[in-house]
Symmetry: C2
Subunit: 398 residues, 2 copies
């Protein structure tokens, strides 16, 4: 493998091509504008105070909450603002676990083997605290079966947590079908448990996040994945959901999430979600076309390559592809030299000693776990990015 | 009591006087500038990724960490970035508790009765999880005795947590004396426990936060209290400190705090801390002069009024004063009508059903718990604010 000269590939070496939108998205200009406006004047006040400035902040937070509730199709009291997706998932899983745990009752949680580390690591913590977790496998297409999920439910199951779309391979899970079967289970058993949670961090920009249609009791969103503020996010928790806090203090967010509210993050998140909602259909179609073009030219150029995960049930912006015999890490670094930002497995995984993809491994493709690359598109992507990618890859992959 | 006409008091009705800097501080312009610069270009990347943009973000976070470590006089690896003071305190207390808890060992924590709710509510949670907590009382001056703290330590004490300065009455606690006695205790007993934590959120702008001089193992800071970004903060945790995460996921911050790092919040926090450090002496002197002027004219104008807490060991920016027979909440609302933003007890307390001040109550002044007002000054305060305050109060308090 020759290390390519980046100047030969990119005629304009300063122009970088970002193909890692699943890892993070830039903040939208309109979101930045709304955030900036919210820092002016007396808008820095603590909304728990009693004076005029505080009431203005409180009102702005209320408006943002209403805007979000309208998009999620829920009550505004069902929105809990958090510091991001990781905290939202922690609150959902640990919060339900702690609320349900009793001396004579060991709560059980059902999840899948391909969840984000910010579910799987929480599950490990739940096991450490004496809880039980069942990890349901997925098909070779990277989709969990709703029937397998229901089969895993036991009398002590308090929560089912299934991601809406996978962060590595972009596969879309059958959330509303699972929701439907859980509702039936609960009706038949005449029980209020288990609750149903979905980590929708990767999905929010592209898929419908109407919580009633999805039939979920809990849903996590993360601003950083949808052109919103960093350290912003929310957990939707249906009114009846029994949930215990994970951060204790001043009792904000109806006692469920202590800590002074972050006005800028909240209004920025509402704006980002609103933009995502307005652009959802058009942007999904546009990116689906880029993605499908990308998959087609990559498979044509590299006949031994194989797409990881379903092509049909897949986020519009995700290509995850196995190039047999390449080393993922080396390829990512080589692409970087060519001016292209890509990833293998997920960013979070690079912090681990074993950074191979447990998601690709779970598809029954252990040989691909260290030989796959993830390219995720976004707002500023276009077809010519695919062409540049193919050109770069053809220098790297012999 | 007549409801005053605000236009009679403030000749410029649009000019509001903010006297609640203990509740929150506006973001400094220089901090905003640094934050804004950090959102440009490829700086939105996820620092865990492997490409150039990510490495730039990683480097900027490293530089901010170094800048902060120099101010705190610690190693940069001892800084854990959080989403604010509440999270920092939760991580310190729950983190040490969970790290020390074993089936055959019940950890014990020593704290004071006047801590912020984001310590006391965590202590309640620790009791719920089977831990023990001793709440040490304070003198009528609002100061805890270092000897009382040491007396409360038992063989199973894993943590002592004492706030650096109180959020309501501004009294400064003898942190380095407590630290010295804890060190002696540990040397005599040949033990590594208890650790010593201080909640320094209120203190950071005015008092020395050199962790070696303070002799603390853990220290919490909050950006919102020092003209920094909202949802920013850090926990200093000495290298040897055994601490368990409270948020689980991608393993950021050496596994202690999962969640994608927030570059803007981190560089903004470093800048805010740096500004606070540079301005500390001058600003403390300036505000001490305003505070003392305020106390003198208030006590002269209202002879029955009494200052809550020590005048000597007190934050430069805090006046907390009891006006016998007034209703705090009504006075705060009346002051607001006069264009003045003030508070009674703390903002967080207004969320509780009983919003009387447990801090003032702990001074042995139960009659003042509902009749005290807190005025806290800051960067944009000056002596004329005190004059306007006295004029407004004289309309409200007969």
């Amino acid at each position: 493998m020759n290390f390519p000269n980046p100047f030969k590939i990119n005629k304009t070496p300063n122009k970088r091509i970002f193909l890692d939108y699943a890892s993070t998205t830039p903040i939208d200009e309109q979101v930045l504008k709304v955030m900036k406006e919210s820092t002016s004047g007396g808008n820095f006040a603590n909304p728990s105070a009693l004076y005029s400035e505080a009431l203005v902040v409180k009102e702005k937070i209320k408006e943002a909450r209403e805007k979000i509730a309208n998009i999620l199709n829920c009550q505004k009291s069902e929105i809990i603002f958090t510091s991001g997706g990781t905290e939202g998932n922690n609150l959902a899983l640990l919060g339900v676990f702690e609320a349900c745990k009793r001396d004579d009752f060991i709560p059980h949680i059902v999840t899948t083997v391909i969840e984000h580390p910010a579910i799987l690591e929480i599950c490990k913590e739940i096991e450490r605290r004496g809880g039980e977790v069942t990890y349901v496998p997925v098909s070779e297409e990277g989709i969990v079966s709703e029937k397998d999920i229901i089969k895993a439910i036991k009398d002590n199951t308090v929560l089912v947590s299934v991601m809406y779309a996978n962060n590595e391979i972009g596969t879309i899970q059958p959330i509303n079908q699972i929701g439907k079967l859980i509702k039936e289970y609960k009706r038949n058993k005449n029980t209020e448990l288990p609750y149903f949670h979905t980590d929708a961090c990767q999905a929010a920009v592209y898929l419908d996040i109407d919580v009633l249609k999805l039939r979920v009791d809990l849903l996590t969103l993360d601003g950083i994945k949808m052109y919103g503020p960093r350290s912003s996010g929310l957990l939707y928790a249906k009114t009846e959901t029994n949930i215990f806090p994970i951060l204790f203090g001043g009792g904000q967010e109806k006692g469920i999430r202590s800590g002074t509210e972050n006005l800028q993050a909240i209004v920025g998140l509402a704006e980002a979600l609103s933009l995502a909602n307005n652009d959802r259909l058009g942007e999904s179609q546009r990116l689906t076309s880029i993605r499908d073009y990308g998959i087609d030219v990559l498979l044509k150029k590299f006949p031994k390559a194989k797409i990881n995960g379903s092509r049909e049930f897949r986020l519009p912006n995700n290509i995850n592809i196995c190039f047999p015999s390449i080393d993922s890490e080396f390829a990512v670094i080589s692409l970087d030299v060519c001016g292209i930002s890509a990833s293998y497995s997920s960013s979070c995984r690079t912090l681990k000693e074993d950074s191979s993809s447990y998601v690709v491994n779970a598809l029954g493709k252990p040989n691909c776990a260290n030989s796959s690359l993830r390219f995720t598109f976004g707002k500023y992507s276009n077809k010519s990015d695919v062409d540049a990618l193919v050109e770069a890859l053809s220098k790297i992959i012999k």
